[in-house]
């Protein structure tokens, strides 16, 4: 199994509070991704990183920011959480972007914003 750890695994928070989710990898992979998974929508890309301090927006980036100060850590921050951000968040890593590269996923963080 790919060494990906997401923390926390579950979180309940209130509207308007800041929330940071952490993804830690032990594989030294260059690419890291944050997705959210919602019923009826599948997995949607929020942000991704292609190296330390190199990040880019995905399909649903509004209301989210990311940071990657070390190869192994990719943080997702909700500056002011809203109920629409209640979701399951998955981190993924990949060694490259060729058509045959595999993305390995973490176990997910279930976030509830009340």
């Amino acid at each position: 199994d790919a060494g990906i750890t997401q923390s926390p695994r579950h979180k309940v928070t209130e509207t308007g509070t800041p929330v940071t989710l952490r993804c830690h990898q032990t594989e030294n992979h260059r690419y890291m991704y944050w997705y959210r998974q919602d019923p009826g929508h599948g997995l949607r890309l929020i942000h991704y990183s292609y190296g330390v301090k190199d990040t880019d927006k995905g399909e649903v980036s509004d209301g989210y920011s990311v940071s990657r100060s070390k190869t192994e850590d990719f943080l997702l921050t909700l500056e002011s959480a809203t109920s629409s951000q209640t979701s399951v968040y998955f981190c993924a890593i990949s060694s490259g972007t060729s058509v045959s590269n595999i993305q390995y996923f973490g176990a997910g963080t279930r976030l509830s914003v009340l």
């Binding site: 690419y31 890309l45 995905g58 972007t97 058509v99 595999i102 997910g108």
Partner: protein
């Protein structure tokens, strides 16, 4: 706009039955991947298809990539309760670059 359309969305069958899940698009994909996800876990890659017309087999699972690289199918023969889960297709397009585009998934339930 959903680039990858999966069907059916839900499938409930008896053990021993065969089934096919479809993944369709109007766009050309450089490759298509199929993932399986169990409750409380992240998706896990089953297979990648790259060449148009390619067929890959994984035990009772057969994956096919359309000749035009716009569609793919997953066929399960003699389904077992252990096949229960969410099946997701995902692909890379030249436009999306490094991002994988996912379908909405097919939830399969196999009862004994």
């Amino acid at each position: 706009t959903q680039l990858l359309e999966q069907s059916p969305q839900f499938l409930s069958i008896q053990e021993g039955e065969n089934l096919t899940v479809y993944c369709n698009s109007s766009s050309v994909f450089s490759s298509l991947q199929w993932y399986r996800q169990e409750p409380g876990e992240g998706p896990v890659l089953l297979v990648t298809v790259v060449t148009g017309g390619e067929v890959k087999k994984l035990k009772r699972l057969t994956f096919q990539f359309g000749d035009a690289r716009k569609d793919s199918s997953l066929h399960i023969t003699a389904a077992q309760p252990g096949d229960t889960g969410l099946y997701l297709c995902a692909g890379y397009t030249q436009q999306a670059g490094t991002a994988l585009i996912f379908g909405k998934g097919t939830t399969l339930s196999v009862s004994s």
